[in-house]
């Protein structure tokens, strides 16, 4: 098993552009979560998806959206990029959602730079 895979690994975008980040969970994992990690800070929760439905949302603007596909892979979309969106975006998968889960397995992340 390759673990949680994210693509691309690095990305440079211009302010105002849109970006799509992709995540493939560990085989058998049905829950996918997205996090934003700004340099020097802990990861900040953006979304959680389970069985293709949004199950949790962090304190991020509507410019951020996500979806989960039937094969449980996921995409994170960010519109109208701002300089402040520059960060490492982490995807994590888990066997279950919510109470009693086994913790999350993280991908290596996508480093987004907005110029």
């Amino acid at each position: 098993d390759a673990g949680v895979t994210q693509s691309p690994t690095h990305l440079i975008k211009t302010r105002g552009q849109q970006v799509t980040l992709r995540c493939s969970p560990i085989s058998g994992h049905k829950s996918v979560s997205w996090y934003q990690q700004v340099l020097g800070q802990g990861p900040q929760f953006i979304f959680q998806y389970y069985e293709k439905e949004e199950r949790g949302r962090g304190n991020f603007p509507d410019r951020f959206s996500a979806r989960q596909f039937p094969n449980y892979s996921s995409e994170l979309n960010v519109n109208a990029l701002l300089l402040g969106d520059s960060a490492l975006y982490l995807c994590a998968s888990s066997l279950a959602r919510g109470r009693g889960n086994y913790g999350y397995t993280f991908g290596s992340g996508t480093r987004l730079t907005v110029v």
Partner: protein, 107 residues
């Protein structure tokens, strides 16, 4: 609001010394708490979960509901323990990370 605090940004100890990384949380319900570790140039990985009461790499953590704490401890630090440590709280709809503590184990 649910929150996780880790008061120390950096903790330096000598090899063989005891280590305690502090974590406090605010949550009115029954918490599920985790410690994650990130070694240099590696991805974030789960270290331990409070519900399993396990010991991983010599680390243990006990949930103290009275003090709302989940401190990470190890009796004898090793140089390979040097890493970034994050405490995290899962309350079902959200997963909150603390700001992290960088542990540096000196030879």
């Amino acid at each position: 609001a649910q929150r996780v605090t880790q008061p120390e940004k950096l903790l330096s100890v000598f090899k063989g010394a005891p280590v305690e990384l502090k974590c406090n949380y605010s949550y009115s319900g029954s918490p599920e708490l985790f410690w994650y570790v990130q070694y240099s140039r590696q991805r974030l990985q789960l270290l331990l979960r409070h519900i399993s009461r396990e010991s991983i790499k010599g680390f243990t953590a006990d949930l103290n509901k009275g003090e709302t704490s989940f401190h990470l401890k190890k009796p004898f630090a090793q140089e390979e323990d040097s890493a970034m440590y994050y405490c995290a709280l899962d309350y079902g709809q959200n997963f909150v990370f603390g700001p992290g503590t960088r542990l540096s184990v000196l030879p």
